[in-house]
């Protein structure tokens, strides 16, 4: 069972979500490369780590549910984990940057 055998009702929204997630993540990393200041740069990859990862994980849930023939939702584990941990890292990094640039 590969990706070409998934039925059409799951393949169409999954393909749309994959294209959206890929483009969002690409724009986020481009912002990380191109923005000028660190405080502006820390905003850019959050788009990839929330919306991009959410789109890809919903698409993965759709495809694995269609492959298995029953609802498979264990990708929710990664989604919840990313949504909890990425603000923690961003907050610690922001405090470290303020601490390092103050003096």
């Amino acid at each position: 069972m590969t990706a070409a055998d998934v039925s059409l009702w799951a393949a169409l929204p999954a393909a749309f979500l994959l294209v959206c997630g890929g483009l969002l993540t690409l724009v986020g990393s481009l912002g990380l490369l191109r923005l000028e200041v660190f405080y502006a740069r820390i905003h850019a990859p959050t788009m990839g780590s929330t919306l991009g990862a959410g789109c890809v994980l919903i698409a993965s849930m759709l495809v694995s549910s269609a492959v298995a023939g029953r609802p498979v939702i264990h990708e929710l584990l990664i989604t919840v984990f990313i949504l909890i941990t990425s603000p923690v890292t961003a907050m610690l990094l922001m405090r470290a940057a303020m601490h390092r640039t103050r003096d």
Binding site: A11, V19, L32, L33, S49, G52, L93, H99
Partner: protein, 93 residues
């Protein structure tokens, strides 16, 4: 049967490859240490999404565990680096 899902998987794989390349350039170029830590954070999230994309493309369930492990250890790594930048020590007595 229908070729739209493999096409989307390949498109997203190319997007994630370029995103990882941009994050790697920032990791090598970043003027301060916190830029490098931020680039590392982006890099591991993009790598995790790439692994998930391979899982969608092959229809195998093994890749989910690899993605979960990358998310776990990437969070630990970037948090430890940020804490080290913040305090100069990771585990304080």
């Amino acid at each position: 049967m229908n070729a739209i899902l493999p096409w989307a998987v390949h498109f997203a794989l190319a997007c994630f490859a370029f995103a990882m390349l941009f994050a790697l350039l920032r990791l090598l170029r970043g003027p301060a240490a916190q830029d490098r830590v931020l680039a590392f954070d982006t890099l591991y999230i993009n790598g995790m999404l790439t692994i998930l994309m391979l899982g969608i493309g092959t229809g195998s369930a093994v890749y989910f565990d690899i993605a979960l492990l990358i998310a776990l250890f990437g969070f630990v790594g970037s948090t430890v680096l940020a804490k080290f930048l913040l305090r100069g020590e990771v585990i304080e007595p």
